[in-house]
Symmetry: C2
Subunit: 289 residues, 2 copies
């Protein structure tokens, strides 16, 4: 019954084994988005604002905020983006950077209990990020790899996950505040990528008893009809125990699959969320005609 509580100043979101799935909107991230990158570098956050609103309207429970810009002051921009998004909405945030200083800057201005994205099993990263997580009383995403890099071997990934949970405990961070990413490889490139990640997810949940998160859109990389693949994949991962994902809530097929899986797993009391969503869709369809 592990529950990870994330919050803003006024709202809590709980990632949990018996809870509705938590969707963390992935859009506020300049990698691969040239326009957004240029604007953020220039201090123009109008697109960030639009992305925040659109994702929440589409059903995001949380938003990820990343400012990974080459040749720009990521630290300053991430802090500004976090402040801006928190001024627009009460959904809690994941503060996302591959560098430590921007994470620190984002956490310093964040109101509530953030989700830090992310740590991994490398000693250096663990020892620089975990003290920050502890200092701010945050929760943290742990990518299941270590200094050796991404491994296709489920055993190696499970060990990295275990190391992160244990090291977090050494820093006084409880297991319920560690959310493990089992790492999704594209099935078009790695034949047993799907089975492996399902297996790691089951083990992380069953043996480490922690929550899990993944970037769902990787699985279909390089294949046609990628969104359909992603949609089925996320329902399958939920069956294996996945409790949250960093995903694009504007992809309707995927959101359908998530809400359907919630209903099927008994995480949607009397299917109320399903029915509400269906009604809203019918209304929107009518509006179009």
């Amino acid at each position: 019954m592990t529950e990870t509580v994330i919050s803003s100043a006024s709202k809590e979101v709980v990632i949990g084994f018996d809870r509705p799935f938590v969707v963390i909107g992935e859009r506020i991230n300049p990698s691969g988005r040239r326009m957004l990158a240029e604007e953020m570098s220039a201090g123009d956050y109008s697109r960030v604002e639009k992305d925040a609103r659109a994702q929440i309207e589409a059903g995001a429970d949380m938003l990820d905020v990343n400012a990974g810009l080459p040749m720009a002051d990521e630290k300053k921009i991430l802090a500004e983006a976090v402040k801006l998004v928190q001024s627009l909405t009460d959904v809690p945030l994941a503060i996302d950077s591959s560098a430590v200083e921007p994470l620190a800057a984002g956490l310093a201005v964040y109101q509530g209990k953030a989700l830090v994205n992310s740590v991994n099993g490398e000693d250096e990263r663990l020892e620089s990020v975990l003290p920050l997580v502890k200092k701010y009383g945050a929760a943290v995403i742990g990518m299941s790899h270590d200094a050796e890099g991404l491994s296709p071997d489920p055993e190696v990934r499970f060990k990295a996950a275990k190391k992160i949970v244990e090291r977090a405990a050494d820093h006084g961070i409880p297991a319920c505040d560690v959310v493990i990413d089992p790492l999704v490889f594209p099935v078009g490139a790695v034949a047993d990528a799907g089975r492996t990640v399902l297996d790691v997810t089951r083990r992380v949940r069953g043996e480490l008893k922690v929550n899990t998160v993944c970037g769902a859109s990787n699985v279909g990389f390089g294949l046609p009809e990628r969104r359909s693949l992603n949609a089925a994949f996320i329902a399958m991962m939920m069956t294996a125990g996945l409790t949250s994902a960093i995903a694009n809530p504007l992809h309707e097929e995927q959101m359908n699959a998530i809400k359907a899986a919630d209903a099927i797993l008994g995480h949607d009391q009397q299917c109320m969320a399903w029915m509400t969503r269906a009604r809203a869709k019918m209304k929107a369809e009518k509006g179009k005609n």
Copy 2:
């Protein structure tokens, strides 16, 4: 690595743990289809013919043939329908009746190794159907309930499944020729219906080591956007080990989910089937414009 081989005179289909999922087209069934019922009762099989062709074109690996008509000679009609469908196509058939005599009549005319749909855990049904299955060297679907009727309790369902596999063995029918239906209840009516059927499926596969089949469209009964629910459900059931379903192959979202789950589970070598399907869809879309 259990494999259930079903065949027509010239084609084999294998339902198996490490095989692509087998879709058994459900359309040739007069229940709830008034026009089809009237026509079949009058000996008019033109709609049966159309349904057979359409389902195979949409990707059905096998076809279910049911002639459960009130006030009509089900025995004669089922035999005629089986002969007709076999004259049109080489896909193997499931011969479907709740009565024993029609099953016998269908088996008598069937060319190949049929799948008998179905037996359950009731002694009377077991002792009347299993000798037929043995006589014709067929395989059989076992519904996981007994004389007590459908139970929401997974333990009761597992026991019924186990009884069927054991009784089949007593009749000289190997476990690989028994395909268990874990029984799908609507999640709109029974809150833990989804978890229960996933659980029964895992146990039947893990402990009895037999193949499984289900009628996927039940899960969304009474709820809006039912097809989306069914699509996610079938991918989730495949994650739990389901190896075949009696389904409507004309429901595209569901077929997408099945093919996606095959790719993700590593049952679609190099994602060739996925890519072929995507290309065919793109071509069809182009044709429309």
